[in-house]
Structures are given as structure tokens and as C-alpha cells.
């Protein structure tokens, strides 16, 4: 039902109280930074020399950083982040999930003392996800096709009323009120209402 995808640790714990895993990542992400630097540079199609020039750092420094040798200063890393056009923290913290659907009624439910309350955790954001919340209304009869956003962007849709078909353009998913779905936003995807007055909450996660 959900295909070959890795569950991104949907630990439903962080709702009832403190979350100890927030800053407890053990070691300084020297290697992670190295990988992120190289990844983002190649994604942007830039050369090491060019990035170094734009950032105002020596290319020797960048070379060492990309090779995992070194412990950059904040100033240096910041300059590189700006040159690469990515948020600073993307260089220091790991990537994001993939595709996941949560039908109405599914998911980790959190109940209160008096049973009149039930909350379903839809997506526990990674520490540095940038998430923009949208309230989306659409009427049937037209398909809104969205092209690829920035690399790594993820979209979350919670249908509040009506029915809609959304998801990757090659495999749309039909959702009804209360359904929740998330999918990659950096691939072509679409939105189509199946009933009048359809509306949903859209969370656009940029990283």
C-alpha cells in the first residue's frame, strides 16, 4: 500500500512531553558537512573553484572541507551556504523523507485524559525543515499541475473537506476529508478537486 520506501522514524513520542532526541545527536557532523557541501555544489552544477570564488574562501579550504578534513568556522560555512544558495543548517543536518500516505483514522493517535480529544501526528519535522502552511481551496473541473520545486522539497496535504486527487503526476492519489498524504515536491505533481468546495491544508516543506 505504501510501496518500497523507508519509514523516516515517525516516532510519535514527541507530543506528550519533552523530546530528548532533539539535540542529542552524538558527534559533530564533520562527514555530514562534507557530503552536504559536495552534494549541494553538484546539485547547483557549480565547480569547486566557482563556489570558492563566490564564497570568498580559498578553494583549498573548500577542497579540504569536501574531503571531510577540517572543522570549518561558522563564518566560512556561512559564506559557503550563501554561495550555494541553501539555508545554513542544510549543510549541518541530514536530508528528508520520501512518500507516505495516512488515511483518515490511521496514524499514531494521542488521546487526552477525557477521551474527547484525539490528535494524529502527521509528520514530525526534522529539526531544520522549513515548512510553510497553506490553506488550499479548489473546485473540480481543472487540474492544477505543479512543476518541480526546489530540490528536496516535500509536500504535505491534509484534506479538510471534499475529495481530491493529488500526488505525483505519474501516480496520483485520491483523498477524502481527513486523509493525509505527503510526497516529493521536486517532481511534477498535481492537485484536482473531485467535489465542489474541496479544501485542504497544504504544508510545503522546503528544507
Amino acid at each position: 500500500m505504501d510501496g518500497p520506501l523507508s519509514r523516516p522514524s515517525m516516532s510519535g513520542a514527541s507530543a506528550s512531553g519533552a523530546d530528548p532526541a532533539r539535540a542529542a545527536e552524538a558527534g559533530p557532523p564533520l562527514a555530514s558537512i562534507a557530503a552536504a557541501l559536495r552534494l549541494e555544489r553538484e546539485r547547483a552544477g557549480l565547480t569547486l573553484s566557482e563556489v570558492a570564488r563566490r564564497a570568498g574562501v580559498a578553494k583549498s579550504t573548500l577542497s579540504q572541507l569536501e574531503s571531510g578534513t577540517g572543522n570549518p568556522s561558522v563564518e566560512t560555512l556561512w559564506a559557503l551556504a550563501v554561495a550555494l544558495g541553501v539555508p545554513f543548517s542544510q549543510l549541518v543536518d541530514p536530508p528528508t523523507p520520501q512518500v507516505r500516505i495516512l488515511r483518515a483514522g490511521e496514524g499514531v493517535q494521542i488521546h487526552a485524559e477525557l477521551a474527547k480529544f484525539a490528535a494524529t501526528l502527521l509528520a514530525a519535522g526534522s529539526p531544520h525543515a522549513r515548512r510553510d502552511l497553506y490553506l488550499m481551496r479548489l473546485e473540480p473541473g481543472s487540474v492544477r499541475a505543479a512543476q518541480a520545486h526546489l530540490t528536496g522539497s516535500v509536500e504535505h496535504v491534509i484534506v479538510a473537506g471534499g475529495r481530491m486527487r493529488t500526488g505525483p503526476s505519474e501516480a496520483p492519489i485520491e483523498l477524502a476529508a481527513g486523509d493525509y498524504a505527503t510526497f516529493r515536491g521536486d517532481a511534477p505533481h498535481c492537485y484536482e478537486a473531485l467535489e465542489p468546495g474541496t479544501w485542504a491544508v497544504l504544508v510545503m516543506e522546503h528544507r
Copy 2:
């Protein structure tokens, strides 16, 4: 109706396309880091010496960093973040908003080519906000009172169906379907359904 609060720049621009302001913050946040270090240390009620000891850095180094002198290495800053029990990026990026309401129909609307689509930007997340999405269902007759969460947490509520009263315990707000409200989560707040079958999307922003 919304009291003395500063509008946290709800620039509705970032929806139609690329967002140049994502990593374009001009200078390296030397002073910001200094302020964050001191703030988080005092929040935790720890002494400079103690934090330095836990982080395994010289207290002279920490002193210089808190005074804004210096450009710490990633390794050093990471150790301090762990010692302070805060996510790394909280030390490098600024704080968060306050209180804001968006009634159904209000807000910056984004229309598509065919006018059958309308999205309302609810909250453009700061680059490092950790946002957990919840689908919340609650029935009338009981008030769910939530105590203060972690400092700096912010809650977003989008009512999908029914009516509810929520917000800070000292000044709850009545919301109907389509209404959106956001308020501080580190102060006592409550949720109360006013109709059967009330449900909402809850976004818990931890920072």
C-alpha cells in the same frame, strides 16, 4: 482584536516561486550566536563555567563567544549546543513570532491560472522551525488544558470542521471551520470543542 503584537512579516511572496530570502541573510550571525548562547545558557540556569565544562571547551572560549568576539568552529558550537540541550541551528538562527489569527477567508490568497484553486499561506516557517503536524479531533464537553511546552514553541491551529475555542488560557479564541490561529505554546493554553465532530490540523512548532 489581536492586541499589542508585532506582525512577524507574513510576506506572502514565497509561494509563487523561488524564495531568494532563504539563505540570503547577509552576514554571518556572529552577534546572533553570541546572544543565543547567553540566552540559552541563562534559560537553562547554568553558569558559564559549568556549560564550558560540560561541553568540553575552555571557559575563556565561551566567554569570548558570548561577548561576540570570535568565529567558532562547527565542532565547538556543536559541543555547546549539546551541552545546552538545544538543537544546533537554534544557536545560529533567530527566534520566533508571537500571536496571530487568520479568519476564514483572510490572508494572502494565491490563485492559479484557472481560478478554481486558492491557497492561503498560513505561516511561512523560519528556516529552522521544527514543525510537527497533527490532526486533532475533539468533542465538546471537556476542555483540554495544555501546560507550557518547551520555551519558544509555537502552535498553529487550522479548524477543518466544527467550532472550537482555543488559544492562551487567559484569552481563548473561538474558531470555526477554515479559521486559523497561532499562539505561544510555552504558556498555558487550551482546546475546547464547541460542536460535535470538531477537528483541526495542529502544527506544533518547536524551534
